[in-house]
Every structure is written in C-alpha cells, then in structure tokens.
C-alpha cells in the first residue's frame, strides 16, 4: 500500500510492558510511516472515529493496528476499501513473555516491523467479481428427491431461491416414502410414528419456485459456483456406461488389484472423466444453477455377503428393508410358505466373518430393529422377537424408545456372536456363541431379519459427473462419504458449491435427514450469496482476495491443478491451468505448490511473506540470541497460540510468528529466505493430517509434511542440520502443549549453535 498509518494500542497493559516510544521509533524512523499514533484501546468508538477521519484527511490506504490478536475486533477494524494489517502485541507478546524484558521488546518491535512490511508490500484490489463477465446465478440444484432432498428444496424455495430438483426414480419420496412406520422423534419418544412424507411431496410439487425432474439423473455438471451448468437426462442406457459412472471403473480397479500385495494401489480412487462436450445428447435438459445440494442417499448393503447367516440363501432370511416392505403391504408372513410369523430373530452389528464387521452398520439400523420388533408385536400379539447384537445403540432420546421396547415381555435381547443360521424342521435355527445367557444357544425361529447397513451411493457412483480436472466424482473418504473436515464443516465437500446432506454424509434417520437437508441448503445459499459478492466461502468466508497466475512464466507442470484440494483449477489441452475463480477457497496451496512462484494473492505472496522474513531484525551470532521462525497455520494453530496467551503460559521469546493461510501454502523459498537471513530454526505448525485430518483445506498439512521432508533431504546434502526444521501438528485444544514444544525446539536450536549463514 502507498500510505500507511500505524496505530499502537497501549491498553491491555501493553503500555506498561513495552517501551512504546521505541516501538513508535520503529514505525516512524525505520519505516518512515507518515502517521503513527498511540493511545489506549483503539477499538473504542471515538478512537475508531479518529482512524476514519485520519483515513480521509491523510488519504491513508493501509492501516497497521498493533494491539490485540487479529482474531478479535475484526469487525471493528474493518474499513471499506482500506487494507488493514493487525500486529499481535497482546496475546502473543505481553501475555506470554515477561514485561519490560529486552527480548520481549525485541519481539514486539519485530512484530511491528513484519506488520508494516507486509502492509507496504500488499496490494488491495478486489479482483473479482469485476473480472467476472457472467452473472452469478443463485438457483439451487438439489440432487435426490428423498426426505433430505425434498426438505432442502422446500427450504431453499422458502428462502426465496429457485430450485431444480432431480430424482432418479419416477416418484419423489425416496426411502422415507417406503417406510411403514418411523421410530419416534417427538416426545415422549416411546411410540411408533407414521410416515408423514406425502404432504411434503405435495408441497414441493405445488411450489412454483421448484422445478422437478423425476426419472432423471445428472448427465454432467460443469462450471463453478454461481455458474454451474447441469445437464439433466431422463434415465436410460447411458447411466450404465462405464465412463459416466465410477462404479464400473472401481470394480475394474478392484478386480485388477486382487491378488496384488500393494494395498495403496487398491485404495487409490479410480480416475474418471465427465462426458465431453460433444457427447452431451441433444435431448439433455440444461439448467444454470449456482450451487448444489447432494442428497442422493443410500442403498442397503448386500445380504449376499452374509451367506453364513443365510443371507441370499434361505427365503426366510430377509433384510430389514424387505421386512419394512412386508409390513407396509400388510401382514408379516413367511416368504417361503406365506404362513403367519410367530417368531423373528433380528440380527444386528453384522460381520462378514470374525475380522470384518460390515462397516456401514449404524445406530439407525439398531433403531430400525427396535421399531420392527415393536410393529411385529403390534401386528401379532403372540409373536416373539429376539434381538441379537454386538452393540445396540440408541443415542440421545432414543434411549427412551429402547427402554419402552425392552419392557415388552416378548422381546428378548442378548449380546452375542451369531455364527450360523440353518434350516431345520421347516423353520430356521440361529446359533449364537457367547450370549448373555452365559451359554451357547440355538434359537428356533420362523424368520430371520438381517440389519443391513446403509451404503452411501457416492461409494461407487459419481452421481454428478463433474467436469473437473481431478475426477468426475465428488471426492469421498475411504467409506464413500464425501467429506471436507467432517468435524468442523458438516455439509461441505471438497468441491466448492456442492454440499452433501443426509445419508451420503452418514447413516441417518428421517429426522436427522430433515435437519441435514436444511443445513446443506443454508450452506448452498451462503455459497451463492458470498460468490455473488466475490467473497470466499468457509473457512475463509468473506475473503475477497484471489490468486493471480502470472501465466507467462508457467511451465505447465500441473502441480497446482493436481494439488488443489478443491479441484478448482482445470487444464486446457496444453496443460495450462484454468483457474475457476468461484471454486477457489483461497487456501494458497497452489501458491505453495508452484515451483515457478507465479501464483500470488494481494496480501499473501512470495514477495509479501519474504518481506516479512526480511523485516525481522536478526542479531549476529555474538549476541547469542538465536532466532526461530514459526510458520503457523491460521486456522487452528494460530488460535491455539493465542490461547496459550490467554492462559498466560510463557514460552521462548526468540520465536517470530508468520501466519499461513494453510500450511499447504508454505512455499519452500521462504525457508531459503529465512536461512539466508540468519534464522537458526524453522518451526512449522499445522493441523492434524491423515485419516482423522483436521486440516481446514483437507490436504494442506499433509502436503506441507511431504514438502518439508524433501527440504530436509536438501539441507542434509548441504551439510546443514535438518533438525533446524521441524513440522508439528496440533489441534485447537493443544494450546497447553505449545510452550513445551517451542521451548524444547529453542533448546535444540541453541544446542546446534548459530546458523552458519548468519552474517
């Protein structure tokens, strides 16, 4: 920015702990800023007024506000069209370092230097949506017309948005319409409830804002949030073509992987591609939509896996789905001879064999069993119901339903290992080991009901056939659930503008599906609204910056297009990256990936961060004050470090903190910069990675880990100690571990001695 005003807060005890005049000298004498003011509490209303009048009078275009953490008062220090840089003097300086100490003062001054340097280098031009030549469409596409999809469509329509609802079956309603009864979701949670979906289907059908395609699927979805084009096709032969459905590809991949020892090969998602432009049939319907809710739900797991329990072998061994159908159609009768059923054994927590539980087994299935046992008893007062389980889960209020069901004297519960079902004397015999009865038992029964798990259809179907460079399917975890930081960001997928809801997120009952449908709709609405304002969606909601590609220097290495966790960047035929502005989450992982350093944000680029590194005053080796650079992820690690301050925990004052958009946006050149500038150690702190990752951008901390391993190798080659670089992952609750981590690293660095490049 051209003209910067520096505001130093002396409140919160900052004035007492630090030499404010010396701090002011840094701004005025070192950086020659035209304006530098100090006072207590710049967040006060009159103080903010003063800043505003300064902006007008002095013509400031950038502010550096030194005081509280950037995580607080964000709304107060926000001025239209003005770049604001916050320097953390409270949480990360005076709250965790001794007052009046020389090292504390040096830290505060360095923080101010970094802030001013960054503000000077940053540019502030909202590139977007001015550069966007098309209008952002706010229509919400809902895929799947079950209870989740219907709720989502209705919710979006109620909020005033146009909706396109696509359902593959001839009628709306999905599984919810096929149920005989629901287990209770209203107080007192003890009695069965009737299906109530009909009125909801009618409401959706009669809503002018909702356009419905039944018996149809998405042939292809191309574009980006606000600019999606959905090609919708009536069902037909096309849906079985292997190129359109991941299913075939996955089957082929599994078949070829069979017998191979290398399991990684097996886990790799199959590469799929959306149909090409010219393949789109003329009779496909085209709809322009802004965001999509993916609510394609589930299918029951395959009972043939359970042959030892008679699954697919005996007529009277049925799935819970068949049971539900039978109940809906009237009396519960034995499939083999049509006789009335007087006893049913319900099998829960199923496993293919001792080692392999069926992974889609869930509390929903357990609750369905309780429900089915109840209506069996209602329909036939003499019937006996046996419920055999490994775990019987009735979460929350459902405990009340379980308790009520338990009271029925003809419903029998036992934990146990069911190891066989056999036909005997015109009926079935269920064999159970380790039952709660303290012995191995056999139960004679008329019928066996297998509690089959709910498999998300996204496990083996691409559903949307996305025209994305990375894959036609929405990325899923290994169980087939689309996810993007499951714990913190429900509904989100790794494809911006596409939100998952209902049973493709986890096994759910209809009440949870309703909640989920609404939740995902709100996310979709948020997306189209923020997109139309040129802002990022969560986790950097409201961010107006955007990565710029300096294409002249691009070498078509494809690293950005491959590593973007959100598949935001497509490629042209020559492998040039084609950024899709509205797909971008602004994580900067492409920046960290680009070996040519051609990707940059206005306030976050090779140069901007580099200038911060250079701004830090590194004492020479004789002063015996080592310097450690802490590259810290803004999402969890930075708040955790602030919390260390809240708790007044002390840590080494040699550490200088540079926040990263994501650890994945960490560019290796910064490490080189830091070494060249005499830093003795580099500490990278990001989110948990792996299966239970907490990285807000899914792959960022993992990528950082890989990149750092490589740079460590380089350091070793240069005979520089690779211990000078450390990567640690923390969760937000780990604030109490951070001081120990940092102190221990500082000790290690002291042991290693000064960086040989130090001047």
């Amino acid at each position: 920015m051209e003209k910067i005003g520096v505001y130093i807060d002396t409140g919160y005890g900052i004035g007492e702990a630090l030499d404010i005049d010396a701090l002011k000298d840094v701004a005025v004498k070192e950086y020659k800023v035209p304006l530098c003011k100090t006072r207590d509490y710049w967040c006060d209303e009159d103080a903010v007024g003063e800043i505003k009048s300064d902006i007008e009078k002095e013509g400031l275009d950038g502010l550096v506000i030194a005081g509280t953490s950037p995580r607080v008062h964000r709304d107060i220090f926000s001025f239209e069209g003005i770049y604001v840089e916050r320097v953390n003097l409270r949480e990360q300086v005076i709250w965790c370092h001794p007052a009046g100490d020389e090292d504390t003062q040096m830290l505060a001054e360095d923080n101010l230097r970094m802030g001013i340097a960054r503000a000077k280098k940053s540019s502030f031009k909202p590139l977007f949506p001015e550069t966007l030549d098309e209008d952002i469409d706010k229509t919400i596409l809902v895929v799947g017309g079950g209870i989740t999809g219907i709720t989502a469509a209705q919710g979006a329509a109620d909020a005033g948005y146009k909706v396109v609802l696509v359902e593959k079956e001839k009628e709306l309603g999905g599984w919810a319409a096929k149920m005989y009864k629901y287990y209770p979701v209203t107080s007192p949670y003890t009695e069965l409830e009737g299906p109530d979906i009909e009125s909801k289907i009618e409401a959706v059908k009669n809503n002018d804002r909702i356009k419905i395609y039944t018996g149809s699927r998405i042939f292809k979805l191309q574009g980006a949030p606000g600019l999606f084009d959905a090609y919708i096709m009536p069902d037909g032969d096309w849906e079985n073509k292997p190129s359109y459905l991941v299913y075939e590809a996955k089957k082929a991949a599994l078949a070829s992987a069979e017998g191979k020892e290398d399991k990684k090969e097996e886990e790799k998602p199959p590469e799929t591609e959306a149909p090409k432009e010219e393949e789109i049939p003329a009779d496909a319907f085209k709809e322009r939509v802004g965001a999509a809710v993916l609510a394609t739900g589930w299918r029951p797991d395959d009972p043939n896996k359970l042959e030892f329990l008679g699954g697919g072998k005996f007529k009277d061994v049925i799935t819970n789905i068949q049971m539900e159908e039978m109940a809906k159609n009237g009396a519960i009768k034995r499939p083999s001879d049509g006789k009335e059923v007087n006893s049913v054994v319900f099998l829960q927590s199923l496993r293919e064999n001792e080692e392999n539980p069926l992974i889609y087994c869930s509390s929903v299935c357990d609750m369905v069993t309780l429900k089915q046992a109840r209506y069996l008893r209602e329909k036939n007062p003499d019937a006996k119901a046996y419920i055999l389980y490994k775990n019987l889960r009735a979460p929350g209020q459902f405990e009340l339903f379980y308790k009520k069901t338990q009271e029925d004297e003809n419903i029998f519960f036992s934990k146990g290992n069911v190891y066989g079902v056999e036909e005997e004397g015109g009926g079935l015999v269920v064999k159970v080991k380790d039952s709660l009865l303290g012995e191995d038992i056999k139960i004679k029964t008329d019928m066996v009901v297998l509690g089959m798990g709910m498999v998300p259809v996204t496990l083996d179907s691409s559903v949307l056939n996305l025209d994305y460079r990375q894959n036609a399917a929405v990325p899923t975890n290994k169980f087939g659930y689309p996810d993007s930081h499951f714990v913190c960001f429900p509904y989100e997928t790794q494809r911006t503008g596409i939100y998952s809801a209902g049973c493709i997120r986890q096994a759910m009952d209809h009440a949870s599906c309703i909640e989920d449908g609404l939740g995902a709709t709100l996310k979709a609405i948020q997306c189209v609204e923020l997109t139309s304002q040129g802002k990022a969606v969560s986790p950097r909601a409201g961010d107006t910056t955007y990565p710029e590609f300096f294409m002249q220097r691009c070498t078509q290495c494809k690293r950005c297009t491959e590593e973007c966790p959100f598949g935001a960047i497509n490629e042209d035929e020559k492998a040039n990256p084609l950024p899709n502005q509205t797909r971008c989450r602004r994580c900067g992982i492409c920046l960290g990936a680009c070996p040519e350093r051609i990707i940059s944000f206005g306030d976050y680029s090779i140069e901007v961060i580099g200038s911060m590194i250079k701004a830090i005053n590194v004492p020479d080796e004789f002063e015996e004050k080592p310097r450690i650079l802490l590259f810290i992820c803004e999402n969890d690690a930075y708040p955790a470090l602030d919390m260390t301050g809240f708790h007044r925990m002390q840590y080494n004052a040699w550490i200088r903190v540079i926040p990263m958009r994501c650890l994945g946006s960490m560019h290796l050149v910064w490490i080189a910069d830091a070494l060249a500038n005499g830093f003795d150690g580099m500490f990278l702190m990001g989110c948990e990675k792996g299966d239970d990752y907490q990285c807000h951008f899914v792959k960022g901390s993992e990528l950082a880990g890989i990149r750092m391993e490589k740079i460590k190798e380089t350091l070793d080659r240069l005979m520089l100690e690779s211990e000078r670089i450390r990567v640690e992952t923390v969760s937000i609750a780990d604030y109490n571990k951070i001081p120990e981590m940092l102190d221990e690293f500082a000790e290690k660095i002291e042991e290693l001695g000064p960086n040989p490049y130090k001047v």
């Binding site: 006996k384 308790k403 338990q406 009271e407 029925d408 004297e409 003809n410 029998f412 519960f413 036992s414 934990k415 064999k431 709660l436 009865l437 303290g438 012995e439 191995d440 038992i441 056999k442 139960i443 004679k444």
Partner: protein
C-alpha cells in the same frame, strides 16, 4: 465342551414373575452392577445378573434348578444400586415365589394363597376347621362345658385331644405336600452340574453349616441397603424358634400326661415356669421382629423392596397369630372368660391358617432356602 442348548422362552412364566412383583425385570440391560454390589454372590457365575436375563427370557428350567436364587437374602443392595431401576432383589423374590408355587401340591392351593381374590376361601377353611373342633369337643359331652365364672380352662372348650389329632393330621398334610415339593426341588437342584474346581463339603457337614448359618444369621449381616432386616428377621426367627420349642414341649407334656396321669404336665403353666418364660419371650421377640419388618417396609420402601400381597399376607397373618396369642394369655390371666374363649378361638383359626398354608405362603421359603443352602454348601457354591 460347551453344549448348545435350544432356547424356548416361556411367556407364561415371564408374566408370572411380572405379576408376582418382578414387574421391573425387563428393564435390566445386563450391566452386572447387581452382581458386583452383592456381597453374597460367588465369583464364578455370580448372581443376580444371570437370573435377570433368565427371567427376561422366561427360562423356567434354569431358574428352578438354580440354587443361587435362594442364596439371595433380598437385602436389596442390588436394587438400590441398579442404574436402570430393574430391582433384581424384587425379581429374585418373585422368582422364588414362582418356584414355591411351581412345586406346590396341590397346585390350586399354591395359586390361591398367592392371590387376594381367594382370601375369603383361604380364611374360611381354618375357621371351619376350628368350628369342627369345637363341635366335636361338645359332642363328646365335654365341650361347652365351660364355666364363665370359674377358672378359664381352654382344654374344656376344645379338647386337647381334638387339637392334637388335628395337629397331627395337619402335620401329615404339611409333610406330604411340603415334603413332596421339597423333594422335587432337591432333585432339580441336583441336576446342576458342579462348578469346576468345586470344593464342597459332605451332606452332613453341609446341613450343620446351614444350621449354624441360620442360627447366626451371618449372611444377613452383610447387607447394607436394608440392614434393619437383619434384626427384624433375627427376632422373628428366634421368636418362632422359641415358640416352636415351647409348643413342642407342651405337646409332649400333654401326651406324656395322657400316658402317665401322675406326671401332670398339663397346661396351663404358671407364668414363672420355664416353659412359659420360653414361650412369652418367643412371643415378644416375634412381635418386635414383626414391628421392625412392618416399620421397615413402610418407611424404607425404596430399600426394602417392593412389598407384594404375598409378603403382606404372611406378615399380617404372623402378626395376627402373635397378637391373638398374647391377648389370649393376657385376657385369660385377667379372667375375662368369654373374651378369653373368643380370643382363643381366633388364635387357633390363625394358627391353623399359618400351618395349613405353610407349603404355599412365604413361610415355605424356610425349607426351600434351607435345602438350597445345603446344596450350595455341598456343591461349594457358598461356604
């Protein structure tokens, strides 16, 4: 080798337990807190967890053969600590009652004693019996040969012979009916396979150990939630024992006197005679015990367990027997002749009721438990 057993829940038996005070049994979810809390439960296959699921599943055969049901003294530590309100103490009580009913002979008496609606019939039988005795006594020329102004002599009102003959017949009835039930019960108990590594004792030693246990009530003492019951049951037990001994001696005395007239061991005895002191002490102990039981049941319902008709009918019958007995004695000594004879008649009615229904009422638990305890000691289940 573990054997697999076909399981066939008996719905009727489950209903039976539920109707007999075990209405909470279905609430059990097998966490085994009860077995952990129970001080009397052995380490190997502890109760009452397994009894709870057997009851839930209506596995009658297993419960009937199970000596553990009788190792429980219903102190209710389990019920008080049950996180689900399944009250294993109450359920075991109901199971014991169902077992007593199962072994009762004749069956209909077992059923009638347990149900309030048959109370009039149940009471009529001893009334008729006493009336029969009175009329028999009078037909003999001696009956109603009472002098309302003279010494009160019950033997003139109802001949001792009559009572004794009735008592003998009653005893035979009890021995046959109760004995058959007990014999079948013993057979069922012995179908139980011995636990591995059982270190049981011989049968004689088992009986002796059980008697010692009865005399000391040491198992009762371990109870926490319902500790008052130790004292209550101890008083009742010793009161009963004293009265039983006293009555037997009096009976023998009468018989001896009949044989050798010069012995003159005929009642009434003087108030300071040892036999009288014995009896009166017994009566007081019984009364104190009963008052404690009733007080505990009324004020400490949560810990004392659910009191059913089966419990109350026995407590009240015992109380009425005790009170009428004491009153008869007091009124007799106060020389209120008419009142004394009436009270004596009432006392006899209730005493007969007590004895007649011994194999079917809660009274029956005495020997069932005794056998189960002996079995437990012989099989090493409880030492």
């Amino acid at each position: 080798m573990k054997q697999e057993n076909y399981i066939e829940p008996d719905s009727k038996f489950i209903k039976n337990i539920i109707n007999r005070g075990g209405g909470t049994l279905k609430k059990c979810f097998q966490c085994a807190t009860c077995s952990v809390m129970c001080k009397l439960s052995p380490d190997y296959k502890p109760f009452p967890r397994k009894e709870m699921i057997w009851s839930q599943w209506g596995l009658k055969d297993r419960l009937i053969q199970d000596p553990d049901v009788w190792l429980c003294h219903q102190c209710n530590d389990c019920s008080v600590n049950c996180p689900r309100g399944a009250a294993p103490g109450d359920v075991l009580d109901a199971v014991r009652r169902s077992i007593i009913e199962y072994f009762s002979l004749p069956k209909f008496l077992g059923k009638m004693v347990g149900e309030p609606k048959f109370l009039p019939v149940i009471l009529t039988i001893p009334v008729l019996l006493v009336l029969l005795l009175i009329s028999l006594s009078s037909q003999n020329g001696h009956g109603f040969n009472i002098d309302l102004n003279g010494e009160i002599l019950f033997r003139n009102f109802i001949l001792y012979n009559c009572i004794d003959i009735a008592a003998v017949i009653l005893t035979l009835f009890i021995v046959i009916c109760y004995g058959t039930g007990l014999f079948r019960f013993w057979k069922e108990l012995n179908k139980n396979p011995l636990p591995p590594g059982a270190t049981g004792v011989g049968i004689v030693s088992g009986v002796i150990k059980t008697v010692v246990e009865l005399l000391t009530h040491n198992k009762f003492k371990e109870c926490e939630a319902n500790s008052l019951r130790y004292w209550a049951h101890l008083f009742i037990w010793y009161g009963f024992l004293l009265l039983f001994v006293a009555t037997t001696i009096v009976f023998l005395g009468i018989q001896l006197t009949h044989l050798k007239h010069d012995l003159n061991l005929m009642p009434p005895w003087g108030i300071i005679s040892p036999i009288k002191i014995f009896g009166n002490l017994g009566a007081i102990a019984l009364l104190v015990g009963l008052i404690l039981v009733i007080y505990n049941r009324l004020t400490n319902e949560e810990n004392a367990g659910k009191a059913t008709y089966f419990d109350w009918s026995f407590i009240i019958l015992l109380l009425v027997v005790t009170i009428t007995g004491i009153l008869t004695e007091i009124i007799r000594m106060a020389s209120l002749a008419l009142l004394a004879y009436i009270m004596y008649t009432l006392h006899l009615v209730f005493v007969f009721a007590l004895l007649l229904y011994m194999p079917y009422s809660k009274f029956a638990h005495f020997l069932y438990r005794f056998l189960a305890l002996v079995h437990a000691k012989v099989s090493g289940r409880s030492i």
